[in-house]
């Protein structure tokens, strides 16, 4: 079969000593980057770009790609250990991953994240190999109305997955949307909500929000409960996931992989939306939804599978259409262009070495990451036995340095502190940070696509319902909302009447 010969060819390229070395280097560096809060793959790629000029195109891409999905693995680690998403797409992992860690099951969480990611990565690699051309046409069929509806769907999911009050989640989503708009408006270039503060002229960095709302607020909350919250040091039950754990995650991983593979192809959608969607689906199909948010292992496995699958398939639009799906991808595109490679519809025929070599190396990279990360779990667990009173200052120090490294200024540190305060106060009021973060990330895109859809349809709002994909997504959003609001309203009504 054609596929087998292609893959064999790809493996023969990927398995050379040089390419293997650079793959290992890439994934290791990527994991490190992912674990260090604040330093992300984009900055690292930018720094290593000059190095790629002296390497062959295939080798450079193998290394850069390794850094990219290595950082996804590393990002899950901090999400589980310190409730801070190392990568935006690991936000969902904090929901149940961190709770598992607090209950002494950090090892299982980390193990499941690694194994789920590897399984998803393997399947996604096959997906890329088999379905690259048809999937790239999926990328093309998403225009402004479709993106808008997709984001609405994602936001509905964010509200639904929050375990607290629906009304408060809605409030957090709206607040996040608004804060996400701080900075220049894409359509007119005009500044909004900056009040003359120069440091806000480029908007607020998502890392600032993530660190403040998740890491800082969590530290304050932990300290408030004093020694009682040091569940880390007690009962570390087993380093790795149990047999039962592994059985439970099979279906979630498969579902997550499917969702991630599909959503990763969309420029601007990608791993983050995939992980949210996967989590929502799991919560819906679970027999006991109340377990979610308290340390449900499915709530770690599915999003991790989804975001890793998404990370792999996001190479499809890059390689086949020359369209980068994120800032990191744009850097890779730059690296390719400088090497004289122009990705596009004919990359499969004109540069088969590149395409198949990369695919083979993706799988190898995933394998390396699992082999790298599983033993590391032991080290992380040991790290968690450090008394919390020594741990949290260290976390603060790393976060602060990471924040200053973002844009070479201390403003981001101040801003994160502000978000930390806000996060803590809102937590006191029963409001959860995850919906806020999703609103923050999706806000600008939501507005951008809404406006563009209306401009191109000459002001006709029916375009959202007449385009089939968009209509389907909106319908799904409404359905999801109804499923949650229905019972909630009923409960509310009975309570009101009971209180009389």
């Amino acid at each position: 079969m054609d596929l087998v010969t292609h893959l064999a060819h790809g493996f023969s390229i990927a398995v050379t000593p040089l390419n293997l070395t650079y793959c290992l280097f890439g994934v290791t560096l990527g994991t490190l980057i992912g674990v260090l809060p604040g330093i992300g793959p984009a900055a690292t790629l930018a720094m290593l770009l000059p190095m790629t000029f002296s390497l062959s195109p295939v080798t450079s891409l193998i290394m850069l790609a390794g850094i990219y999905y290595g950082s996804q693995y590393g990002g899950s680690t901090t999400a589980i250990l310190i409730n801070t998403p190392g990568e935006a797409s690991s936000v969902v992992t904090t929901l149940d991953g961190y709770q598992m860690a607090r209950r002494g099951r950090a090892g299982a969480a980390l193990g499941v994240a690694a194994i789920g990611s590897f399984a998803a990565g393997s399947v996604a690699t096959l997906v890329v190999a088999l379905f690259a051309p048809p999937l790239s046409s999926v990328a093309l069929s998403f225009g402004a109305p479709e993106y808008f509806s997709l984001m609405v769907f994602g936001l509905m999911g964010a509200m639904v997955l929050a375990s607290g009050s629906l009304l408060r989640s809605l409030g957090m989503v709206l607040l996040g949307l608004a804060v996400g708009l701080v900075g220049p408006d894409i359509n007119s270039g005009k500044l909004r909500f900056t009040y003359g503060i120069e440091d806000l002229f480029d908007g607020i960095n998502v890392v600032v929000v993530a660190m403040g709302l998740f890491a800082f607020a969590e530290i304050v909350a932990n300290l408030e409960h004093g020694e009682k919250r040091e569940t880390f040091t007690k009962a570390v039950r087993g380093l790795l996931p149990s047999r039962e754990d592994l059985k439970r995650i099979i279906a979630p991983v498969l579902r997550g992989t499917a969702i991630g593979s599909l959503l990763g192809v969309l420029p601007g959608g990608g791993p983050l939306l995939a992980s949210f969607a996967a989590y929502t689906v799991e919560k819906k199909v679970a027999d006991d939804a109340s377990r979610f948010g308290q340390g449900a292992i499915e709530g770690v496995a599915a999003p991790e599978a989804a975001n890793n699958a998404g990370a792999q398939t996001s190479f499809i639009p890059l390689l086949t259409l020359g369209i980068p799906t994120s800032a990191t991808m744009a850097l890779m595109l730059g690296a390719m262009t400088m090497q004289g490679i122009n990705p596009g519809p004919q990359v499969l025929t004109k540069s088969p070495d590149l395409f198949w070599g990369m695919i083979a190396s993706m799988w190898i990279g995933n394998a390396m990451l699992v082999i790298l990360n599983l033993p590391l779990i032991g080290i992380w667990i040991r790290l968690l036995t450090v008394p919390y009173r020594l741990l949290y200052p260290a976390i603060l120090v790393f976060c602060c340095i990471g924040l200053t490294s973002l844009d070479n200024r201390v403003f981001d540190v101040h801003a994160a502190a502000v978000f930390g305060l806000a996060g803590y106060l809102l937590f006191k009021l029963g409001c959860e940070p995850a919906p806020f973060l999703l609103g923050f990330i999706l806000g600008p895109g939501l507005e951008e696509n809404l406006r563009r859809a209306l401009v191109l349809s000459r002001g006709d709002p029916s375009v959202f319902i007449t385009q089939p994909i968009s209509a389907a997504l909106l319908l799904a959003s409404v359905a999801m909302l109804a499923m949650v609001v229905g019972p909630a309203v009923r409960k509310w009504r009975t309570e009101v009447f009971r209180e009389g």
């Binding site: 409030g171 909004r192 200052p393 502190a417 509310w492």
Partner: protein, 146 residues
């Protein structure tokens, strides 16, 4: 009277935020629904937040809900520590700023142990220097004089 303090206060918070956002949004041209200008969506968001806040406040009088626990001040010291770090970094250098961060954040713990400061400083300050200044090449001043 107020049966659900969390709903009440979060409702007020959302209401306040919504008002703030709406008022800011009025300062930008709104355009029309068909040709939105950059003030349109912020305005909608502001109004929606006000609605959510109002609904939450109303509900807090009707249905019982969770209470708000006391806000403690000492646990917030880490935030002050972070700000101290940011203020000190450029004038005083990485060493001083990190030390200040450690000292202030340690004071937030239940029992103040000076030994902690020593351990953390000895480990973290060199580690920071190696990873962030040497390996990653971040341009951070090390000491007050250079």
């Amino acid at each position: 009277m107020v049966k659900a303090p969390q709903d009440f206060w979060s409702g007020l918070a959302f209401l306040g935020a919504g008002l703030f956002i709406s008022i800011s949004a009025w300062g930008y041209p709104a355009g029309t629904a068909a040709r939105m200008s950059h003030g349109y969506v912020p305005m909608l968001l502001g109004y929606a937040l006000c609605a959510v806040g109002a609904a939450s406040v109303v509900r807090s009088f009707l249905v019982h809900g969770a209470p708000v626990s006391r806000i403690a001040l000492r646990p917030m010291l880490p935030l002050a520590a972070v700000i101290a770090f940011a203020l000190l970094l450029h004038p005083a250098g990485l060493v001083v700023a990190t030390f200040a961060l450690i000292v202030i954040s340690v004071m937030a713990a239940d029992r103040f142990r000076p030994l902690d400061i020593l351990i953390l400083s000895a480990l973290l300050i060199p580690f920071n220097w190696i990873i962030f200044v040497r390996a990653l090449g971040l341009p951070l001043p090390l000491l007050p004089w250079g």
